[in-house]
């Protein structure tokens, strides 16, 4: 059954050293508050899955918590490169980083296959592309009807998924609106799921029948963290803080500046600061 917990409790119970974890969100609804709590709790040797490892994965990698990243696009969206992730890959600072690299299509299909209980995803992908040669997790199957060679990748089955959503009701059912990304899939693919939400409402009466709702029995923990996606955004609540993404490009370019920034903005504060960060957005 779903627990309503503090973020500290939810992360402590659901994220363990060595876990394979996915903090998902496609530009929208990125679970920044949950990632910062994971950083404060100092988890180690994580394998992180994400289509677009952006600022939060740059931060976790920069803090030395990550041994491996499975991904398809490692950029600061609309800004540029991920400088802490580059430093880890190019210079093994603060530690070396193993990478397993896919295309977006393969990653999306791998989540879909995980949600579908399949061992692998099958897609028409990677034709003529170089990743096949450097990623042994890209294999193929032949269509038994046409003989066409299709790509196959292993399903994503993370130990734990973290997402941010707009609303939960008192039972723990979760509503996601707008750019829904792969959030339904990652929750269904994961063994455990933690959802931070903008708001907890009594019930979902009157909602349109076809919205993206995760029933409470698919979610381990619901945590009320207003603003918890900042500097990403929450459709219906606050806009994207583009300036913060530009700022990250500078902060992450310098190891000392990065360390200082993390101390001030992550290690020394709690999830309650997020509400103030989105005021006026």
């Amino acid at each position: 059954m779903t627990k309503f917990q503090s973020l500290r409790e939810a992360v402590a119970e659901n994220l363990h050293d060595g876990d394979t974890a996915a903090f998902e969100g496609f530009t929208h609804l990125i679970p920044h508050a949950a990632a910062h709590e994971a950083i404060r709790q100092g988890r180690k040797d994580l394998t992180l899955i994400r289509m677009t490892p952006d600022v939060i994965y740059d931060q976790m990698i920069g803090m030395g918590m990550v041994k491996k990243v499975i991904f398809s696009y490692a950029g600061n969206p609309g800004v540029g490169l991920l400088r802490r992730m580059r430093d880890a890959i190019e210079n093994a600072f603060p530690r070396g980083l193993e990478t397993v690299e896919h295309s977006h299509a393969a990653m999306a299909n791998a989540y879909e296959a995980g949600a579908s209980g399949l061992p692998c995803a099958v897609l028409r992908g990677y034709v003529g592309a170089g990743l096949k040669a450097v990623n042994p997790d890209i294999r193929s199957v032949a269509c038994p009807f046409t003989g066409e060679e299709l790509a196959a990748v292993p399903a994503h089955r993370p130990d734990v998924a973290f997402i941010h959503a707009q609303k939960a009701n008192r039972k723990g059912d979760v509503l996601i609106e707008g750019i829904v990304g792969v959030q339904k899939e990652v929750v269904l693919a994961a063994r455990r799921a933690v959802v931070t939400v903008e708001e907890i409402v009594d019930d979902f009466e009157g909602l349109h029948p076809n919205l993206c709702v995760l029933p409470h029995w698919t979610v381990k923990s619901v945590v009320h963290v207003p603003g918890g996606a900042h500097p990403s955004y929450a459709y219906g609540y606050y806009a994207r803080d583009n300036a913060a993404y530009l700022e990250w490009d500078k902060v992450s370019a310098d190891r000392a500046l990065f360390a200082e920034w993390m101390k001030t903005n992550v290690l020394g504060v709690g999830p309650d600061v997020f509400a103030a960060r989105v005021k006026g957005l």
């Binding site: 496609f26 530009t27 929208h28 289509m51 677009t52 991904f71 398809s72 696009y73 490692a74 950029g75 969206p77 609309g78 800004v79 490169l81 991920l82 992730m85 580059r86 890959i89 190019e90 690299e101 295309s103 977006h104 299509a105 999306a108 299909n109 989540y111 879909e112 897609l123 028409r124 992908g125 990677y126 034709v127 003529g128 592309a129 170089g130 990743l131 450097v134 066409e148 060679e149 707008g178 750019i179 829904v180 990304g181 792969v182 339904k184 899939e185 993206c212 955004y233 459709y235 806009a239 994207r240 803080d241 583009n242 300036a243 913060a244 993404y245 006026g280 957005l281």
Partner: protein, 259 residues
């Protein structure tokens, strides 16, 4: 005609190649500007799709990210990312995809993965994202990039997405049924693949650009079309539309917290 920058010429030349019937998979940056200029000028019914799941979107400002709120708010509908890649891209519903490149070769193959060796990269670039399947699933591909010797290269460090491979019928030999790179629009020129060899060939030079300038910013020996033309200059409408769009965009994204 007022003056214009090479970047503006590139964006407007790309916009002109788009039509009302196109269903475009749009990337951030120049492609996004080009697609929206087309929509706001000669192609009001063009369908724009961003890989975040927004279908038929009509943003009034350019998105900073591929999943800005504006894209969802103005879209006909927004679907999940797995659905986007399965039903819409792989399903063959997209007529046109835009790609950018860190490195591009003469056959339209693209690298956005690494500079140097994959396992010991000099520069770790963001990676392919949607590109490997955009390159093969969209009806055709337009590429936009600024010319530079380190960008237009003789040989890629990594083959992120497949263009025409070694040229000729290489796509068909791999079982790919789509047209692949059909247009390269740079800040200096417009290029089209040769019908036979598929090597990119300059078909028009932007105003004030010489053959030498094109060759000096390209890592391979450039072929020019026998019927080389000058790219028509931006019209008042095109340039005004682009600049208005960029002004609105700056206003919207400029300051922290919307200031």
């Amino acid at each position: 005609m007022t003056d214009f920058t090479p970047n503006e010429m590139m964006t407007i030349a790309a916009a002109r190649a788009l039509s009302n019937d196109d269903v475009c998979f749009v990337g951030i940056g120049a492609p996004s500007a080009a697609c929206n200029v087309a929509r706001l000028t000669h192609a009001p019914d063009i369908t724009l799709i961003y890989e975040s799941g927004t279908i038929g979107t009509r943003p009034s400002v350019l998105p900073l990210s591929i999943g800005d709120g504006e894209l969802c708010e103005t879209a006909l509908t927004t679907v999940s990312v797995p659905e986007m890649f399965r039903y819409w891209l792989q399903g063959g519903r997209i007529t046109l995809g835009f790609l950018g490149a860190a490195q591009l070769d003469r056959f339209g193959n693209i690298n956005t993965t690494v500079i140097g060796d994959y396992f010991k990269p000099k520069v770790r670039l963001p990676g392919g994202g949607g590109a490997p399947e955009i390159a093969t699933s969209c009806g055709k591909i337009f590429i936009t990039m600024k010319q530079a010797v380190r960008g237009l290269v003789e040989k890629l460090d990594f083959y992120t997405s497949f263009g025409h491979g070694d040229g000729g019928d290489h796509r068909r030999r791999l079982g790919i049924r789509t047209a692949g790179p059909a247009l390269l629009i740079t800040d200096l020129a417009v290029w089209e693949p040769d019908p036979e060899t598929k090597e990119f060939t300059v078909v028009s030079l932007h105003r004030g650009v010489t053959r030498q300038m094109v060759q000096d910013t390209c890592g391979w020996t450039v072929r020019f079309s026998d019927r080389l033309e000058e790219t028509p200059q931006p019209s008042e409408l095109e340039l005004g539309t682009l600049r208005d769009l960029q002004r609105r965009t700056e206003l919207a994204h400029g300051g922290r917290k919307g200031n």
